[in-house]
Amino acid sequence: MSTAKVDPVTRAAIDWMLRLESGQACPSERQVFKAWLAENPAHLAAWQRVAGVLKTPVADLHAVERRSPGQLQAARRALLASTVTPGKKTLQGGLLLLLLGLAGAGLVDRVTPLAGLTADYQTATGERKTVELADGSLLTLNARSAVDIQFSNGQRRVRLREGELQVEVAADAKRPFVVTTAQGQVQALGTRFMVRQGSDESLASVQQHSVLLDTLGGQQRRIETGQAVSFTATQIDPQTPTSRSQTDWLQGRVELHDEPLSALVEALRPYQTGMLRISPEAARVRVFGVFALDNTAQTLNTLAQTLPIKVTRYGPWLTLIEVRR
């Protein structure tokens, strides 16, 4: 259908999608985009149409991918098998990863494109970032994280949309400092603390002083230095300190003492361009040691030499970890 046509508003929404996903859009452009969305209900409707392209089948494939790694790639290859690809030979493996690293590009969650793209601050795959907020607080984002900053006269609010942050809060008795997640909010009581947004729960851990946790369902708890809890809207579960609740990622590493390999893979995931999948059996292998986050390929190769596991790369976009037999 070479004569395909769409109306000008839809065309503008497509342009925004491509611009925002190009990785080159600056914060002021995001502001212009937000204004464009708010300007006219037709703009929002067009944006949702564009964001909704192939949404259901892609969401289905992602759901299957989570259960059985490799399916996304299998689906793409099957879809392309019927058409012959002319032109240049493609780059493979490590070289591509290297190029990607240089490009500094990040993955964007396609299922809900509205989330990461419009955030005030976000980090790409493998990127950490520290920003000084208007009140002097220092906010550090782990890789693949996104936050919105909402400061007012009465409150300093940071909305964690995805990923992980640590904050060193500057004192301001009149304006409480609060980090919100999809499950609740964590209020600083003069403090250094970390919050992570998981897929269906949040985690908070305190490095200095204490915080007050309020879940959406009305549960409340004070968390002290060295403590960590995971929480949903209705439940708070204290956690024994593990690599998950530590803040070693601030220094670009993760330390594990007798933890399952799956914990290490979780920590590496935001640093891996492409998919990183682990078989259930390999997930249970116990791990000790300190590992670098910034070079996942090397970390995985080292692991394969010391643990009974096999790391296989299926092209640049899928890495599988299995038990070695």
């Binding site: 395909a4 491509l18 089948p57 793409r76 290859r77 032109g87 590009a105």
Partner: protein
């Protein structure tokens, strides 16, 4: 004549012939029977039975289209199963998941049908696997501007189809 009688006549006069014609194309009686049934359903859905002047020419055109789409689906399914076979057994999906993937790739294939292969490839890498534009440019050995143009074309293609059949 009312539409139901028109369909009954059309069916009566041409069903055996259509099945015979289809049997020679697919060489599987079950497929031929299903396709013949689908062809009459399409004719009924078109609601223009009284306008059909050359029933057999009309029916074979519809049947040919259905046949193409069946072959396309089979080919897609075949290449998916080939891909599955290449993965290690530990990563084999459940039967339900395989069914879900088949449906999803059929849906995607229908929407992207008609796009050139490079455009399709760029779009799938981008939407399905979340590959950034720059990375796609490196992978396909084309400029960033080309990738952007390809993605735009694919979006326009998908959205203009949705507009046609809401």
């Amino acid at each position: 004549m009312d539409p139901k009688s028109l369909l009954a006549n059309l069916y009566h006069d041409n069903h055996a012939w259509l099945r015979g014609w289809l049997s020679r194309q697919v060489r599987c009686p079950q497929d031929a029977a299903d396709l013949a049934q689908d062809t009459f359903l399409r004719a009924w859905d078109a609601r223009q039975l009284e306008r059909i002047r050359e029933p057999r020419a009309y029916l074979s055109t519809v049947a040919r289209r259905l046949l193409c789409s069946l072959w396309r689906r089979r080919k897609l399914e075949q290449s998916y199963l080939e891909q599955l076979a290449e993965l290690p057994p530990a990563f084999a999906p459940s039967a339900e998941d395989i069914a879900l993937v088949r449906e999803a790739i059929e849906a995607i294939d229908r929407v992207l049908e008609g796009l050139p292969s490079r455009v399709k490839r760029a779009f799938l890498l981008n939407r399905l696997e979340g590959m950034p534009q720059q990375a796609i440019a490196e992978l396909l050995g084309v400029s960033l501007a080309t990738v952007e143009r390809d993605l735009r074309r694919a979006f326009v293609h998908c959205l203009s189809q949705t507009a046609e059949c809401p």
